[in-house]
Symmetry: C2
Subunit: 346 residues, 2 copies
């Protein structure tokens, strides 16, 4: 098992050597040329909240850009899925004003879809329980536990540095702009969606979106790190690849989050090429998640004949990457690595 993983690392190391490509080769220069852009929703349920008053809940907002073709070989669509206490903003311009992954994927020829998770940002949330508690119809403890990450916790758990205000010597996150980053951390209502008791509607919507795009690579991060796999367990048909970046939970449980993956689920997941990526300075929950994915999930998928690549960036000599690697100073190098994996594995 260990051999398979190491082989995969070596392969990606070779693929990543083009990270020094000139700006021109990366299509960073010149205008951004789109054949199409827009936004729409996937899913949504009608809920009656009062006589003659219905609202829509559980819809997922999607924003997309389709590049004018730059490559003879068409690229698959990519769907970028943000993490806890964040929105699709995470994939856009970085806190220090550099290009984010959303624009870079488009510039490199990928039809690119950003989503706001159900209950977050432009997807909205179901206000019913809040109104019921306010009016005394429901008890206060029926309010959801709103997930929030404070500045101090983000600094250490997202590995900007060992203690709040101090950066790691080789830190890649633009720590001078941490205050700008904190502005994209917003309340997370995912615990309204019953993740411990049943599937989050975002999973189903991601499978539907993959279908609507004509086949997509799903890229999840942190809270959503294992969302591509959860979508594939519902409908794998249009998911051409799964990229799991530092899953905040685990690689060994799906939804409900407390139930281990079954052998049948492993067989299903092994049919889709998978890339797992971890950055540097891992600690706490992410160290546990790393071990879980590396030592248990990867061998399970390999044993089922799957194509799975496990990348530890520091093991490849790429050091100092934070949990928010899509915003790090070398963010485009990491994107290059993912794009090369997509080109050769999907």
């Amino acid at each position: 098992m260990r051999y398979g993983v190491l082989l995969a690392i070596a392969l990606v190391a070779t693929l990543a050597s083009g990270g020094t490509a000139a700006a021109q080769e990366r299509h960073l220069d010149g205008p951004l040329i789109l054949s199409q852009e827009g936004s729409f929703f996937v899913g949504g349920d009608t809920q009656t909240v009062a006589p003659d008053s219905d609202i829509t809940v559980n819809q997922m907002y999607v924003q997309y850009q389709i590049p004018a073709s730059i490559d003879a070989r068409p690229k698959p669509a990519v769907v970028l899925i943000h993490g806890c206490c964040l929105s699709a903003k995470s994939w856009e311009e970085t806190p220090d004003g550099r290009m984010g992954w959303s624009e870079y994927f488009v510039r490199r020829g990928f039809p690119t879809y950003l989503i706001d998770q159900v209950t977050r940002a432009r997807s909205g949330f179901d206000p019913t329980v809040f109104q019921q508690v306010r009016s005394g119809v429901a008890p206060p403890d029926s309010l959801p536990n709103i997930l929030v990450i404070g500045h101090q916790a983000a600094w250490t758990s997202f590995r900007f540095g060992p203690t709040y205000g101090t950066a790691y010597p080789d830190e890649q996150f633009p720590v001078d702009y941490a205050d700008e980053f904190y502005k994209q951390m917003i309340p997370d209502l995912n615990l309204m969606l019953g993740p411990y008791s049943g599937p989050n509607p975002t999973f189903d919507h991601l499978a539907t979106l993959a279908n609507q795009t004509g086949g997509a690579v799903l890229i999840g991060h942190s809270e959503s790190g294992f969302f591509p796999e959860n979508a594939a367990l519902i409908d794998p048909q249009h998911i051409r690849g799964m990229v799991t970046i530092e899953p905040g939970g685990s690689c060994t449980t799906a939804n409900p989050l407390t139930v281990p993956l079954t052998p049948d689920q492993i067989v299903k997941l092994a049919k889709i090429p998978t890339l797992i990526v971890y950055g540097d300075h891992l600690s706490g929950g992410f160290l546990k998640s790393y071990a879980d994915c590396h030592d248990t999930y990867v061998p399970q998928i390999l044993a089922a004949g799957g194509d799975i690549t496990f990348v530890s960036l520091p093991d490849m000599g790429i050091t100092g990457n934070s949990h928010m690697m899509m915003l790090d100073k070398n963010n485009l190098d990491i994107a290059d690595l993912i794009m090369r994996w997509i080109d050769s594995h999907t």
Copy 2:
């Protein structure tokens, strides 16, 4: 006074005659070519919610696209400000898949900025009071009154038709896609911001954003219809024009919402060119808002020497427009009218 208003109507009627321009002239054909795109935040306050735990609140998310120049004469930036229970999604692709105003303004050469109001969508909201109520530290009635519009109320108050499910014969809203529209209606937490007791932070952020863009035309709609004016009362210096589309509140009170505009405020507002636009089939609150703007505010601004244009679309022969005119079937015609006003008045 009435003469001044009629003159203004006649002027815009002439300007609107180009609404039949070919798709090519409108730059609808061919790729969308951007010199730059990205997103950032304006404002934001640090709030300590627990020992060693700070969060950022009151920040405003901004998403922008700068077109590659298509015109010898550079266009001013435009800032599109969504209304109640909506997000910046309102300005994007329509529910039936046509081009929205955000892309159209870019295609016509305007640097275009979309915002999510403070407490909405990607701007996030302050979760503190929700957590306090849940844990029993604060009483249930300290929760904010969350504004929500149901499908039935939206249908009639946004004037898709006289009764739910029935459209006006000349209706411009794409009513067959109303279910898709409802998905962009999300909970509105603006009443957390004390609109009856003090200024909404979005006003200040809009004035700051106008400065950051090097001068901008602010375009408000419905709840935000009078936001351009409220921003100008804080700092008019970089606001090159104000477009007020069917203000949901009033043209005669600023923030706090219960206090009438003072003569000094009228003088300040009269220094910035203003366009007010109303659609068809007005009823209820919008009929009152129309009368308030037309009969009181316009004469006040004219008396102070201001350049103000009041447009009633049906009076110009453009019939059937709903409150959501940026999504109506003739949405680009309405945008053309606004662009011509910008070209000749700012």
